[in-house]
Subunit: 202 residues, 2 copies
DNA sequence: TTAGTGACCATATTGTCAATAAGTCACATT
DNA sequence: AATGTGACTTATTGACAATATGGTCACTAA
């Protein structure tokens, strides 16, 4: 058994998990993924190192959880944009900008998150993959809505359109590419959004 | 003086340069940039290490020369495409494909060139910058010709259009991004070309 | 005067090994 | 039975010595 069954006393499993994640989130942000040790996390929650492994099978798994957390907040931002009832074009454009800003923030502001974001991409961590899948869903939804409302053209197969947009989004979202033009990313995102929107015109 | 003046006897300066470049080209392809030492090159052309520095100020300079060579062959390919008299759309699409194939070739076929290509991008080597500048010129030319012939729309400022296309091209051309989807790059290039062409429709 | 070099220096790279951290497990405590 | 741990093995890291490499210069030979 990886996780202990919850007994009479003591916090439930998920609470322990949450404790660990909270500690990890703090430590990773403060010291970075590499500089944070499992022992640090154990000490932070006042339990032994070994016990951490009852809830997470590896340090990587904790990293993935934090990575997922990161993506969750991004999802919330994008979800809000997608559901605000504006036109599909407008929402798509703002998805571009939001994605760019989020990535910039991760690199500039939260410098210590750099290594975890990097890892996530390089090693194809599942949350990153999942986020891409989710993002594709969002894009597809916007495209469909835009087509339904007559904003967008309908000839191109929807899969191709989505795939193309995801490729373009990658150049905004991808941390590797990003380091090279952080300063202009906001503008670039807008420029790319314009290009995509023109390509969607009926 | 960096380069010796040509005297009565012995090969002229530019021949020595060419010798060095030829040796470097061979060695870099065979062993990679990192594994090739200046001493190796010196031995290959039967001269001393110190003498190399009469023609190139640093190893980096030799790397840049090879990088430039690389770009020259790419330029030739693209130039041929641009001047073949077909429609602007067709040529632009083929520029996308050619760029993708070239980058794939560099990574897959000529595996040892990996590090030099990587360096060129990471450290902003001048030939790479120059190539981007040149490429932008090519793109601008195609856009202008397409606009003149009525193939492309004319409302968007030409600078914005070019910039956007360059950003999209980056995701095909950039080695960092590339490693992750080498297998599908050919298709992706076509998909992106279609998107860009739709965005250019009048 | 010019083609060319050996010997030299400073720095980057690599190898080594002890210290630290990840990850496991039998067992103690409640 | 459930919560929890100390002590252990294996994988990574860090610091430092040894080596290799990039780069310079005074100098020789024709």
């Amino acid at each position: 058994m990886l996780t202990p069954h919850s007994g009479q006393r003591g916090p439930a499993d998920h609470e322990r998990r949450d404790q660990i994640i909270a500690a990890a989130n703090e430590h990773f942000r403060h010291y970075g993924y590499n500089k944070t040790t499992i022992a640090d996390l154990a000490e932070a929650i006042g339990l032994s190192k070994a016990y951490i492994y009852k809830f997470f099978e590896s340090k990587k798994a904790i990293g993935e959880a934090i990575c997922a957390l990161q993506h969750d907040s991004m999802r919330a931002v994008l979800q809000a944009i997608v559901e605000d009832g504006k036109s599909a074009s407008d929402r798509l454009r703002r998805v571009f900008i939001a994605l760019a800003r989020n990535t910039v923030a991760l690199f500039f502001h939260d410098r210590k998150m750099h290594d975890i974001v990097y890892f996530a991409m390089e090693e194809e961590w599942t949350p990153a993959k999942a986020f891409r899948g989710w993002l594709r869903g969002i894009v597809e939804r916007l495209i469909r809505e835009g087509r339904d409302s007559g904003e967008f053209e309908r000839k191109t197969p929807i899969d191709e359109t989505c795939h193309a947009i995801m490729l373009v989004l990658q150049s905004i979202h991808h941390p590797l590419l990003l380091e090279q033009h952080l300063e202009t990313l906001d503008d670039d995102a807008a420029t790319l959004a314009n290009l995509v929107l023109r390509s969607l015109a009926p």
